[in-house]
């Protein structure tokens, strides 16, 4: 009994826009959690918010011997936390998750539950000396400036303020990592096939060490798991036209299937299964270059007595910056690949019977 093949239209773009524009830095995922709960409740057999704030959704199939398949997408994004009130609306801050300070000066941010508008400023070129112009700014030297009427407190979170745009074949937004995974997972829940028990984990605190996924996987005890994330594409031409061997992924080549990163060796059987699904269904895909980085799959794999895992990502350029760019087709093909893969899962996936 296949579920309906989910598509991406106006409704899905509206939802992704809402998700990307929401502020949900690691540890403060409430806004996205609320949206997820609203979307999945009508479709789920059980919805729970666990002690750490993960949203755990169970959608049961029908029939015998249904594999328990965990799908994971993290709700949190990288951002900031205020650490000092320096007066006059100026606040010292620290980054939450991996952010290169070179991305920060001159960027608008939103602070706290009320989304107070602020900016991260820096000394202008007129006043900077030669040494300062060469160095990258240290976080300690930067402030979030809310103006004297902006009242925030140390401990408030802040996120980038970029608004979502759908421009032709592209999506431009902050927090595509991993709201595009969250949006994908919501569609998979809504169209779940009946051959599996779908266990959807919308996790917290991925960007600071895969923390939510660790407890979510412990609770679910799945047979297999797939992490749905978004991964850097560094695919611009080089300045001298030479061939670059390091790009991670490329936009437009389809979903990126993982084989190896520093957090996980993806289960070769699941990698093969996804590749075979893509080839049988004529869905383009790419292998994410083996190397650094990691996804929630790393935490899930090492839960209890072990879980076979694989990750699939929608590629985007300019990761962990105020704005990233993805291709709509890559998103569509990721959703299609994952849905069709779920439909093809059998209790004997690994024995081939």
């Amino acid at each position: 009994m296949p579920g309906t093949l989910p598509t991406i239209g106006n409704t899905q773009f509206k939802l992704l826009e809402k998700l990307c524009n929401a502020c949900a830095v690691s540890g403060d995922e409430g806004e996205v959690r609320k949206m997820v709960l609203e979307e999945v409740k009508p479709y789920a057999d059980e919805v729970k918010v666990d002690a750490l704030g993960n949203v755990l959704v169970t959608k049961l199939g029908s029939g015998k011997n249904r594999p328990r398949v965990m799908l994971d997408a993290h709700m949190d994004e990288v951002g900031f936390i205020l650490v000092s009130d320096d007066g006059d609306g100026l606040y010292g801050f620290q980054t939450v998750g991996g952010i290169d300070p070179r991305h920060l000066p001159g960027k608008p941010v939103l602070v706290g539950k009320e989304h107070l508008p602020g900016v991260i400023g820096m000394k202008p070129i007129h006043l900077a000396n030669e040494d300062e112009l060469k160095r990258k700014p240290s976080i300690d030297s930067l402030r979030i400036d809310l103006g004297p009427k902006g009242k925030a407190k140390p401990g408030d979170w802040a996120s980038f303020a970029t608004k979502f745009k759908h421009v032709g074949p592209s999506i431009m937004a902050k927090a595509i990592d991993d709201r595009i995974g969250v949006a994908t997972l919501i569609e998979l829940v809504k169209n779940a096939p009946a051959n599996i028990d779908l266990l959807a984990a919308f996790t917290v605190q991925e960007e600071i060490g895969l923390r939510g996924a660790k407890v979510a996987a412990y609770a679910f005890e799945p047979d297999i798991a797939i992490a749905i994330d978004s991964t850097p594409a560094h695919d611009m031409p080089s300045h001298d036209g030479s061939e670059s061997p390091f790009y991670n992924t490329k936009l437009g080549l389809g979903p990126a299937i993982y084989v190896y990163n520093f957090a996980t060796i993806d289960d070769p059987r699941l990698v093969r299964f996804l590749k075979e699904t893509a080839e049988a269904e004529n869905i383009p895909y790419q292998i994410r270059q083996p190397g650094g980085g990691g996804t929630d799959a790393g935490a899930i794999q090492r839960t209890r007595a072990g879980v076979p895992v694989v990750s699939v990502s929608v590629p985007h350029r300019y990761t962990h910056s105020p704005i990233s760019i993805s291709r709509v087709d890559d998103w569509k093909n990721t959703l299609k690949l994952l849905h069709l893969a779920l439909e093809r899962i059998t209790p004997n996936l690994f024995t081939g019977n």
Binding site: V259, Y260, Q289, R302, P308
Partner: protein, 332 residues
């Protein structure tokens, strides 16, 4: 046991891709074990013996994976760029030969270094499989490779790739052959993915919930010219782990091992390692904690294509492990 070590070391199985070594070990141990299974991540779990009133449930882990390489990019000219699985050092890679799962062989070359005599980092190295161009290259992104070297004997020394930890695997298998009738329920676990962060041991220990844990692995020797100062030499016996960079062996386990060695008149060394760790670290921190130690084999040139051990140390490790496991385990 030499033939077994040769067969084990000449088998291709980098972390995450342990199929070949798993098949070889399973064939070897099926007649020796009371019960054998493969868990969800691919660890082999083999039980020997049944627990009696004065026995314990013991986990003996020997990792069966090896360090390796994984292809990241095939360039237009047909050269294969790669990253590492585990920690093979660039100085040991350069000029080395590797083999992919498909059997394709390659040699490792490098870009010109920034400074004369400097060895480029991994991203300045590449594998040349003899391809004329990208189309002609039989390697795909994501394909894994391992060192390609035959096993050789040099006097009392054994030389091979992946003696880390196929020698440990051989010690576990030979001990299974000799054990019998003791009070303990011993689970020999041939673990996956040790070289990338003791991942197989983490999940198998959780599944087994043992009362005592041991890892069989290697320890770098400090007996070569101008080497790092380290009181471990080839030929002076297997070593008992006291500490490494990520664990303190349980003193009760250390005492048990030392008593067994004394009783069996086996000379031993004491390992105090300042870098690296073993599966023992994962077992120790499982659930509410497990008293755990390590039996480690002195080894020169660890993580190179030509690791060297003394055969007597390997044989004595089997003697010691057998003596430790055959009787009641007193962790008083």
């Amino acid at each position: 046991m030499k033939q077994l070590i040769q067969n084990l070391t000449e088998t291709f199985s980098p972390s995450g891709y342990e199929d070949a070594i798993r098949d070889l070990i399973l064939a070897e141990i099926k007649p020796l074990a009371d019960e054998t299974r493969v868990d969800t991540l691919g660890n082999i779990i083999a039980r020997k013996g049944e627990k009696t009133s004065n026995g314990q449930r013991v986990m003996v882990a020997a990792h069966m994976d090896e360090i390796g390489l994984i292809a990241t990019h095939i360039d237009e000219a047909g050269f294969v760029r790669f990253t590492t699985i585990g920690i093979p050092f660039p100085r040991y890679l350069l000029g080395g030969r590797v083999r992919f799962a498909s059997g394709v062989q390659g040699v490792i070359g490098s870009e010109k270094p920034d400074k004369k005599n400097e060895i480029p980092p991994v991203d300045g190295l590449f594998i040349d499989v003899g391809a004329l161009n990208k189309k002609d290259c039989p390697v795909n992104v994501g394909d894994v490779a391992a060192f390609d070297r035959p096993f050789v004997e040099m006097g009392t020394r054994l030389v091979a790739k992946s003696l880390d930890n196929r020698a440990g695997v051989a010690v576990a298998i030979e001990t299974m052959r000799r054990l019998g009738g003791g009070p303990n329920e011993v689970y020999f676990v041939f673990t996956v993915q040790e070289e990338v962060g003791v991942r197989g041991a983490t999940v198998s220990a959780y599944g087994l919930d043992p009362q005592v844990g041991l890892a069989i692995d290697v320890t770098p020797a400090g007996d070569t010219p101008n080497s790092i100062r380290r009181d471990i030499a080839l030929g002076k016996g297997p070593a008992i782990k006291i500490k490494d960079s990520q664990m303190l062996a349980d003193p009760k386990v250390v005492a048990w091992m030392e008593r067994a060695a004394e009783k069996a008149q086996i000379s031993i060394q004491r390992e105090v390692l300042t870098s690296g760790s073993t599966d023992a670290r994962a077992i120790q921190l499982t659930r509410s904690g497990v008293p755990t130690g390590g039996l480690v084999l002195p080894c020169r040139y660890v993580h190179s294509p030509s690791e060297m051990m003394d055969y007597g140390d390997v044989e004595n490790a089997v003697e010691l492990l057998t003596a430790m496991l055959n009787g009641p385990i007193d962790l008083g």
